[in-house]
Symmetry: C2
Subunit: 128 residues, 2 copies
DNA sequence: TTCATGCTTGCAAAGTTTTGAATATGTAGA
DNA sequence: TCTACATATTCAAAACTTTGCAAGCATGAA
């Protein structure tokens, strides 16, 4: 019964690609709209070459696609729903957060999910 | 705005734990019911010490919990819903499968999701 | 042409994870 | 007690990933 193992292997590769904070941030940025490498580099505050390396890995695994516009390379998510799936992962980190308050998670979810409530108003604690 | 980065980092750690075929298989096995280390080792056809290593990593990250029963350690998922979330990842691999037919994925989904249709009958190709 | 811009690629060093084998611990029964 | 069994832990080697930097292509404008 090796197809179980094959599928587990493919799934593991999927998880490996996502398992990097920069790449998660990239997916988050691209979720809102397509962007060129420099805008992404500015948004994440990383050297463009690093961003390009991540993008090329993600391109190889068909997470993103690029299109040229003059000298810019405009990247977009091939399956934007992947971003929703990633946010669902937040359900499983509420327990093991190190230096991350429930508020951070709530506001992260808002940032990903809805618009951009920038910083949540300083509530003492959230439970509602 | 560093909470974005913090959350991305935590998410990345979550993904890293899952990003190993053996650990995915372990979650798959534990989804059905709690099991001891030897049963898991037999099911995955791996040395028990390797399974124990994976379990101890997963235990450290609160994916699993163990309970003693005589000399056996019975493991179970802390949040069984994580298994459902992992299966959803299958939606994103249908494109980039290497040596993995749509049927393999369909039957993998069945194995994880429903009961155990063991091996899907040899259909030429599936589209319905 | 030449130049600047925007991105990509290559490479070695640093860091991390995985693996296998050996050794240790804890429990049950003789 | 001693022995067998079930699992955990430790350690080093191998495999893999990430990083930083430098050099390399394209494109567009002068």
């Amino acid at each position: 019964m090796p197809s179980r193992n094959l599928v587990a292997k493919e799934l593991a590769e999927l998880f490996k690609i996502v398992a990097h904070p920069d790449r998660i941030r990239l997916i988050e940025e691209l979720r809102a709209s397509q962007k060129d490498v420099n805008s992404l580099a500015d948004a994440l505050d990383l050297p463009a070459s690093r961003v390009s390396q991540h993008l090329s890995l993600m391109r190889a695994h068909r997470f993103v696609e690029d299109e040229r516009e003059g000298r810019k390379h405009i990247y977009k998510l091939v399956q934007p729903e992947i971003a929703d799936w990633i946010v669902e992962g937040l359900d499983f980190i509420e327990g093991r957060m190190r230096g991350l308050s429930p508020r951070d998670i709530k506001s992260a979810r808002a940032l990903w999910t809805g618009g951009d409530p920038a910083s949540t108003p300083p509530t003492t604690d959230v439970n509602s």
